[in-house]
């Protein structure tokens, strides 16, 4: 399943980085993040104290005042609820406004994904969506497949028109195997 996900992600212009350990993921982030990094609340990332580890690695982490800080931020980091192999899609419950700001405004979006959370296709995703809807009274769920794109000028595919120009999926086992938490 991971193989299929990686292949599909690559086709849509996303970048996958396989990280053996969380330290590797942190190092990868420290190397690539440009500018302040928005880190919206996420149960799995909080459990792992990613904010602390990233700050220790020299990354400027923003974890409050998202509305103010988002327009000038360089990157956003989120977990993922789960991912869909057939299309290379990351599914992220984004009801909290901070999550949406972190994944729409900056040029870079990093996703920390546990490969155990990859499901086959959209029909496997439906029951999970249904559970997420049942859990939350209001919902904003996002399927994210590659970076923002347009072909509106002469049909030439161009990346990064409004949303992130770069989408990185850092695959790291041990982040979380709960498909309903991000």
């Amino acid at each position: 399943m991971t193989g299929a996900f990686l292949a599909a992600l690559e086709k849509v212009g996303g970048v996958a980085v396989c990280c053996g350990t969380l330290q590797q993921a942190v190092a990868c982030l420290a190397e690539r993040v440009r500018g302040p990094l928005l880190l919206p609340p996420s149960p799995s990332l909080q459990r792992l104290d990613l904010a602390g580890q990233l700050r220790a690695a020299g990354v400027e982490v923003v974890s409050a005042d998202f509305h103010q800080r988002a327009p000038a931020a360089g990157a956003g980091l989120t977990g993922a609820n789960f991912a869909i192999a057939a299309t290379g899609t990351v599914v992220l419950e984004s009801t909290a406004e901070a999550t949406r700001l972190a994944t729409t405004l900056p040029e870079q979006h990093f996703v920390l994904l546990d490969p155990r959370k990859i499901v086959a296709d959209s029909s496997a995703a439906v029951p999970l969506l249904r559970q997420l809807h049942a859990r939350l009274p209001q919902t904003f769920l996002a399927y994210i497949t590659g970076p923002s794109r347009t072909a509106d000028i002469e049909r030439v595919l161009t990346i990064g028109v409004h949303g992130p120009k770069e989408l990185y999926v850092l695959l790291c086992e041990g982040v979380s195997d709960d498909l309903l938490e991000s």
Binding site: A8, K11, V12, H67, P71, A86, T87, T89, T95, A96, E97, R100, L101, T103, T104, L105, S122, S123, A125, V126, L129, R130, H133, P137, Q138, T139, F140, L141, A142, Y143, I144, T145, G146, P147, S148, R149, T150, A151, D152, I153, E154, R155, V156, T158, G160, V161, H162, G163, P164
Partner: protein, 719 residues
């Protein structure tokens, strides 16, 4: 009024035809589209997916009150405000007054065809509220003061140079015409808009009754910003976007991107339900459900399938008329085949009047539509309605009603015409020049002369010797075969006799009625259907064979439809439909002709042109290829083999000769590029068009009916 309307419409056509760059763009786009679409659907069963969407949408249409109530209940429970707007005016009034009440000065919009449909920007502007389009294509056309020329790619008609100039006016600098740079300019310019706006307005691709949520299927990410940053989010949603469950939503998501742009999925699918957090509080979400003619469409038995549309735009992508003139000519707000129908219901029949005739009837859209909408049939129906309302023109009405219905008179007149044309044909079989104002008709293609003796007059002299016939068939010739290409009838007899079949020619057969039907004269078509059913069944044949696929469709489909409510005729029309068969399919399926003709031909390079009505109407395309290949011809495929040749009957003579001419030119180019010395086809109409084009352009390629090529392989008839 309608004269002026027609003149303006003709002027728009001329203008579009004078823009070769537009045509080039749309042609290249069509090619790229077909290739990526094929990739996207690889390993998927398109027919099954489309059947799933059609069934689901039909269910929603029939139970829409129930689903609407369910959706509304769930959306409101999640904190949304839901309102149903019956008309465009109601929708605009609601949104404008909401914006006023909340003191909104600037609105950011993501792409919404529904908002184009109701002219929302104009309504906002009139109320002093600025509306900023943020979808790149929409922003471009907003700056240009135009309307979208495509549902998915609104600015497909514009070049990067034009875009650079528009953007330069915004930034006050000279902007280089490099696409990545222009995209970056848009990113920077629009960014502040999201942050300043008091209201975001979006459409939605799906409204899920089960959850009360919306799904937005987008690539750019602007809809996510529009739905996130401003305090108020208004979603304007046509009621046809309803689906019952999340599974059903995925039916659409699994197909729409593949069929729209050849993507497996778009960059973003956003599922939004209720008043999600925004700043310190919650967002105000207003869902405006728009009827504006959709309810009426649901009630129209002939047209209601159009409500299945998921707005993928594919029917435009593959349409030869769209590729030739673009969406500003072939559309009102909604464009192309589906645009004709939606315009009639959302904006009034008057606005669809010219467009209804602009369809050439090639059914390319029907083949590609993911919702299984028979767009062509619906357009034909609208043409009938319009024919009844506006009339079909005095000249045509006279021909159809007074002349065609009276077979003897009609045929006498054609015979007379064959005499009258003598001075211009100079005894040749092809008319290359016509005098005076008829000259336009032969400017770009030669036309065949009407035969001296029609097939019906030659028939008794055609000897048939078949011992122990395997079948006795009746031949429905159609006008072209009968009066223009009688030799095809001889070829037919020769080939079928060789394969052990005798052929009769029921003399009472008349025109199949398609010219009348396609012009909107259903009454004449019905009379002709009755005459033909009676004539063809009289001799109790095993099969009725045809050489013209348009006639085939008339016999198989239209007669049944026309005579459905006529108790004396309905069953007989069905019976005729059941035994009607295109001759190449007959030879392959019933006679195993391929093996009987095996290896008779010299290995000449032949390319095959698929007639629209044969491939997409009768489902025949493998059979003639097989016959040609089995007989020993070297079959080479041309590009776009199944693209229309631009004939379309009266389309190429009277209604849209200029568009027809361009479509023919494309075909001639493809034929020539194939390297074949002969192009085969199974339609006398295509033959007239393609042979005429090749002749006029003096191309050394022969155009022939497949039957003619087969007949040439057999020893001469003994007379």
């Amino acid at each position: 009024m309608s004269k002026q309307r027609s003149r303006q419409y003709k002027a728009r056509i001329d203008q579009a035809l004078a823009a070769p760059r537009l045509q080039e763009t749309l042609h290249r786009f069509a090619d790229a589209y077909l290739a990526s679409r094929e990739n996207a659907f690889a390993g998927h069963d398109f027919q099954a997916l489309r059947a799933g969407i059609a069934a689901m949408k039909d269910d929603v249409r029939d139970r829409r009150e129930e689903y609407l109530a369910q959706f509304t209940r769930n959306a409101e429970a999640a904190g949304a405000t839901v309102t149903l707007a019956r008309t465009a005016e109601e929708a605009n009034a609601y949104i404008v007054s909401l914006a006023r009440q909340r003191g909104v000065r600037l609105v950011v919009k993501s792409k919404s065809m529904a908002s184009e449909e109701i002219h929302l920007n104009r309504a906002l502007q009139e109320a002093g509220i600025e509306a900023l389009e943020t979808d790149l294509g929409e922003w471009i056309i907003q700056l240009a003061g135009q309307r979208p020329s495509h549902m998915v790619m609104p600015a497909i008609h514009m070049t990067k140079e034009e875009v650079a100039e528009l953007f330069g006016k915004v930034t006050g600098k000279v902007e280089p015409a490099a696409i990545p740079h222009l995209v970056q300019v848009a990113r920077e310019q629009l960014r502040q808009g999201y942050l300043n706006a008091g209201m975001g307005i979006s459409g939605a691709n799906i409204a899920v009754a089960e959850t009360g949520g919306l799904a937005l299927i987008t690539n750019e990410g602007n809809a996510r910003l529009v739905a996130t940053l401003p305090k108020i989010h208004v979603a304007l949603v046509g009621i046809e976007k309803l689906v019952p469950t999340l599974e059903d939503a995925h039916r659409v998501i699994d197909v729409l991107p593949k069929n729209a742009t050849g993507q497996l999925i778009t960059s973003y699918v956003s599922w939004i339900r209720g008043a999600v957090p925004c700043g310190e509080g919650r967002k105000e979400l207003h869902i405006v459900l728009l009827d504006n003619g959709r309810g009426a469409l649901a009630e129209s038995p002939h047209c209601r399938d159009a409500l299945r549309c998921i707005k993928c735009g594919a029917c435009a992508n593959v349409c030869p008329v769209y590729q030739t003139v673009g969406g500003h000519v072939f559309g009102h707000i909604y464009i192309s085949a589906i645009g004709i129908i939606l315009t009639a219901f959302f904006h009034g029949l008057e606005n669809a009047a010219e467009l209804v005739r602009a369809c050439i009837g090639c059914r390319a859209c029907v083949a590609v539509c993911p919702s299984g909408i028979d767009l062509e049939s619906i357009i034909l129906h609208l043409r009938e309605v319009l024919g009844e309302e506006e009339g079909i023109g005095a000249g045509k009405a006279l021909v159809f009603k007074r002349i065609m219905r009276n077979r003897a008179l009609f045929h006498t007149m054609i015979r007379t015409a064959s005499l009258l044309q003598k001075p211009v044909t100079r005894g040749e079989r092809t008319i290359r020049h016509l005098p005076l104002f008829f000259a336009g008709l032969t400017e770009w293609r030669s036309l065949p002369a009407i035969a001296d003796r029609p097939l019906r007059d030659q028939w008794s002299g055609i000897a048939q010797r078949v011992e122990k016939p395997r079948y006795k068939v009746a031949f429905f010739a159609g006008c072209l075969n009968d009066f223009v290409y009688p030799e095809l009838g001889r070829d037919l007899v020769k080939v079928l006799n060789h394969l052990g079949v005798t052929v009769s020619f029921p003399r009472e057969q008349n025109c199949c009625g398609v010219p009348a039907l396609y012009s909107g004269d259903r009454e004449t078509a019905t009379v002709l259907a009755e005459q033909n059913v009676a004539a063809l069944l009289a001799g109790n044949p095993d099969f009725v064979v045809t050489t013209c696929p348009t006639c085939t469709m008339a016999l198989q489909r239209d007669f049944v439809d026309l005579l459905r409510d006529h108790p004396r005729w309905a069953a007989r029309a069905e019976q005729l439909a059941a035994i009607t068969i295109d001759v190449s399919r007959f030879i392959v399926e019933k006679l195993d002709g391929g093996s009987m003709l095996q290896g008779l031909a010299a290995p000449e390079k032949v390319t095959y042109h698929d007639s629209c009505h044969l491939k997409r109407g009768a489902g025949v395309w493998r059979e003639p290829r097989r016959l040609l290949a089995d007989s020993g011809f070297e079959l080479v495929e041309m590009a776009h083999a199944d693209r229309c040749c631009g004939f379309g009957g009266s389309y190429s003579f009277t209604s849209h000769p200029d568009i027809a001419r361009h479509i023919l030119n494309d075909k001639v180019v493809d034929i020539e590029k194939s390297g074949a010395t002969c192009v085969a086809m199974d339609c006398p109409g295509c033959l007239m068009q393609i042979r005429g084009g090749l002749d006029k352009q003096e191309k050394p390629v022969r155009a022939a009916h497949t039957l003619q090529l087969l007949a040439e392989l057999l020893p001469p008839e003994k007379s």
